[in-house]
């Protein structure tokens, strides 16, 4: 691949032929704002927030503009900042962006950009578009189109990542809006609730049912793990709130899933903190389970295993290990059966 040299805000940087100005700038730590752009989908070049100055006079959308050898890029000056502020105020004016009661407060790219550019609340008599609010028809997703900036990310995420093609643009100009398979309600559409459009939406127009009442974004903690459900092994960032409750699952871009999840990985974690969990060892006496201490239960289990081994030999004991458990646990289980019990009677449900 051919390398190219250019200057961004006076700093010499290197990129690869074919990369856009935005890609090279981001690779080198320059922060150019965007709304419609997202690295996991194809480029749209519609929101114009990513405009930069190229070689002194031209203003270009950096997300679609290929970088040229020797180009001199200014990521922001007074004029560009003013243009950006203007774009943001237009977006604010068109919808109903009240962070006070928005569940994505603190997790909104529009909000962050408005702070950054000091965008003002629109005049009160500006005619607002009233669009679809549908927070109940889908079990997993909430939709409030009055917070939509028509960036098109959801359309592309559904077409290019989930490949379900649920979202479409409809109408023109100030009547432009989104439809889900031409249905009014998302719950009536062919949506499979993978949640990718929510994950990628820069505003509160799309959100997850699970976040409601679970604390503001800035109090959430994030830690990654691997989905428990299938062999794809999607990497998931789990968010928990101050009380330690699970709030949401977001696909991690570094996993084999490249940020994508399916409905199971997205919503299949309630059981961990559900009321069905067992919280004490149980020993069955006279046909009924009774709670026991760990010592009592472990003593009893090892005594019974030892007795049975003594009486009938190690091959009279069998262990079922688990394809839902970790490598370390599976390793230890087979070691226990082989090195402590003395049998190769260990298997798991790979075959099932």
């Amino acid at each position: 691949m051919n390398k190219i040299q250019l200057t961004i805000d006076g700093v010499e940087v290197t990129g690869t032929q074919g990369q856009t100005i935005l890609e090279i700038a981001r690779d080198n730590g320059f922060d150019i704002p965007t709304l419609c752009y997202h690295p996991s989908i194809s480029k749209t070049g519609a929101c114009r927030l990513c405009i930069v100055r190229v070689n002194g006079n031209m203003i270009k959308a950096s997300c679609t503009e290929p970088a040229a050898e020797g180009a001199k890029i200014i990521t922001e000056d007074a004029e560009i900042a003013g243009l950006r502020k203007g774009i943001l105020e237009m977006l604010l004016a068109e919808g109903d962006h009240n962070c006070l009661y928005c569940e994505e407060n603190g997790n909104c790219e529009l909000q962050a950009l408005c702070y950054r550019y000091g965008a003002e609340n629109p005049a009160a008599d500006f005619p607002k578009n009233k669009r679809q609010i549908d927070v109940t028809s889908s079990k997993g997703l909430r939709r409030n189109e009055n917070r939509c900036v028509l960036c098109g990310r959801c359309v592309k995420a559904c077409a290019e990542i989930q490949v379900q093609n649920v979202w479409q643009f409809d109408g023109r100009g100030s009547h432009a809006c989104l439809t889900s398979d031409m249905f009014e309600k998302l719950g009536d559409s062919s949506c499979v609730q993978c949640g990718q459009c929510v994950q990628i939406c820069p505003t509160g127009a799309l959100s997850f049912q699970t976040v409601l009442g679970r604390g503001p974004e800035w109090e959430l903690k994030k830690e990654s793990s691997i989905c428990i459900y299938c062999g794809v092994g999607c990497k998931i960032d789990f968010y928990t709130n101050k009380q330690g409750q699970l709030v949401k699952a977001i696909g991690n871009p570094d996993g084999p899933n490249k940020g994508h999840l399916c409905v199971k990985g997205r919503f299949g974690f309630d059981f961990v903190q559900g009321d069905k969990r067992i919280t004490s060892p149980l020993i069955k006496r006279n046909g009924k389970f009774e709670e026991a201490s760990w010592d009592e239960a472990l003593d009893y289990v090892s005594k019974r295993f030892s007795e049975i081994k003594q009486a009938s030999g190690p091959d009279s004991i069998m262990a079922f290990s688990s394809a839902k458990c970790t490598n370390e646990e599976n390793y230890l289980m087979q070691k226990f059966m082989r090195a402590v019990v003395g049998t190769n009677n260990v298997d798991h449900c790979a075959r099932l």
Binding site: C194, L298, D299, C325, V340, L352
Partner: protein
């Protein structure tokens, strides 16, 4: 998988056989759809049901359940007959071609179409030509290949086909089994199998026996006799030979074939310990239940379907009263004479590295910043993106002559229909986790049986009506879902629902080599239940 998920964009054509990818491995399903729908790659789907991918396929072959070997032989037959196979690859890297070719002679498209219940033999030819023209072809399969009495043969036929086409050892090709649970791959790698130590080192080999005895510093003689598989052990429990069962994170009452038989085995055993997070149907039958921890309450690693080892972290504080699963196993071991002193999962992994050559180069530190797929023999090794690059493990790739054999149970006048089982998008396995996750349970709250509209009208059943499905082993009732998805005369049932447990019905006939039960096909009958 021989190859990697990130190679999907390099593939020119896909053969998806016995895998309902968009429901069972949805993220890979979407990646395949993206290539096919958005980039015009070719797709051939072989399945008894008109699954979602079938709608996007260039060729869809709706075969009778249990006839994979025949259709795969049919593809190979066409490739040889039309001289479309990769002669150089076969000559340089494989052996057994002549014998295989001889066996394949009779698998003409017409013959195969008859076995598989296909109307149009020319579609078999068309599919084979696609594979030859659009290389690399990547073959994806799942339980729809393996869950048969002839499962191992099905896998061998997949390998035959990919060797013929020269699609092994190259990026974007491969034989790619999709693992049904998050760590099937790792559980196998770790030796949680009756005949092998970690890294598939046979227990029946005296050198391995010596090696592990030393590594584990155990006074005990390690047994050289392969152990029992799960289904065999259940039979042995009923016969009185297996007296104690230690069931860890499994729910055989729901997941194993022939539920009735499993319950009988558990009742026969003298002593049953279940270590799990909830009181499963199996735990209810135990003598002792030990509360372990859920996946996001613990540290450890898991290996995905492409052999990628990934770190799992503690996301939430473990529930009070539970213990780490490794700790529980260690406590029992130490009470039985061992003196293990692991303090965390990482201590165990360090030991794993020493005895598992394919994991030797993997460390917790590396996993935090690198993508590593085994084999990874040392800490400088980057891991292995795809297998069989220059040669196969055994040297030359073995092409096998495989004959089609019919499933164990054929239809007859009493049980005239074929039952096949599987999963649906929203649920997992026995439902222990997904059915206790609110949104998933709300989206798909109940079991059903999928019936072709022809059969529905024959039995005078309409959508949503309750029917009873019976096999020689049992009978369950549930709502009928009338669609055009299954092949006529084939019904499909998901196995997640305890109220309508499919495994009350399925058969426990086993593949003679790998002992996998034949879940995917048995004979059944349908009756309308008049409310």
């Amino acid at each position: 998988m021989t190859n990697s998920i990130r190679e999907i964009p390099l593939t020119e054509s896909f053969l998806v056989i016995g895998s309902n990818t968009t429901e069972n491995h949805p993220v890979i399903g979407s990646m395949i759809k993206n290539e096919v729908i958005n980039k015009g790659k070719k797709l051939v789907v072989v399945d008894p049901r008109k699954i979602e991918l079938a709608k996007h396929a260039d060729v869809f072959l709706q075969i009778k359940p249990g006839t994979n070997v025949a259709i795969l032989n049919g593809f190979a037959h066409v490739l040889i007959k039309e001289n479309l196979y990769d002669k150089e690859f076969v000559k340089e890297r494989c052996e057994g071609f002549d014998e295989m070719a001889k066996t394949l002679e009779k698998y003409t498209p017409e013959h195969v179409a008859k076995i598989c219940g296909l109307d149009d033999p020319s579609k078999i030819v068309e599919a084979a030509r696609i594979f030859a023209a659009s290389k690399p072809m990547a073959l994806y399969y799942c339980m729809g290949i393996t869950q048969f009495k002839s499962g191992v043969n099905g896998v061998k036929c997949c390998a035959n086909l990919q060797m013929l086409l020269g699609n092994l050892g190259i990026p974007g090709g491969g034989v790619n089994p999709l693992r049904g649970q998050n760590n099937v791959q790792g559980a196998c790698d770790m030796g949680a199998l009756n005949a092998v130590y970690p890294a598939y080192q046979p227990v029946a080999n005296e050198e391995n026996q010596k090696k592990f005895k030393e590594a584990w510093k155990t006074p005990l003689e390690l047994s050289i006799k392969p152990g029992l598989t799960i289904v065999e052990s259940l039979n042995a429990a009923i016969a009185g030979d297996v007296k104690a069962l230690y069931v860890f994170g499994e729910n055989p009452v729901m997941s194993d074939p022939n539920q009735h038989h499993v319950i009988e085995a558990l009742e026969h055993a003298e002593f049953v310990v279940v270590q799990d997070i909830v009181l499963t149907e199996t735990a209810a039958l135990a003598d002792v239940v030990l509360p372990g921890r859920a996946f996001i309450e613990k540290e450890g690693t898991a290996s995905n379907t492409e052999r990628r080892v990934q770190p799992m972290h503690k996301v939430v504080e473990p529930l009070k009263g539970t213990q780490d699963d490794w700790w529980i196993i260690m406590q029992i071991a130490n009470r039985m004479g061992a003196s293990w002193d692991y303090t965390c999962a990482k201590d165990i992994f360090e030991e794993v590295r020493k005895v598992t050559p394919s994991y030797a180069g993997i460390t917790y530190e590396r996993l935090e910043k690198e993508l590593i797929q085994w084999p990874c023999p040392n800490e400088q090794h980057p891991g292995t993106q795809y297998l069989h690059k220059e040669k196969f493990n055994r040297g030359l790739g073995l092409m096998s002559a495989i004959e089609f054999t019919p499933p164990a149970e054929d239809v007859d006048p009493e049980y005239p229909m074929i039952l096949t089982t599987g999963r649906i998008l929203q649920h997992f396995h026995t439902g222990t986790m997904t059915r206790n996750s609110r949104i998933l349970d709300e989206i798909a709250p109940e079991g059903f049986v999928e019936l072709h509209s022809n059969d529905a009208s024959n039995y005078n059943v309409s959508d949503g009506e309750v029917v009873s499905i019976s096999t020689r082993r049992g009978s369950v009732r549930m709502k009928a879902r009338v669609t055009d998805k299954p092949k006529p005369n084939v019904v499909f049932m998901p196995f997640h629902f305890v109220e309508a447990a499919a495994n009350k019905l399925t058969i426990d006939a086993l593949d003679p080599t790998c002992k996998i039960p034949e879940y995917k096909v048995c004979a059944c009958k349908i009756e309308k239940v008049n409310a």
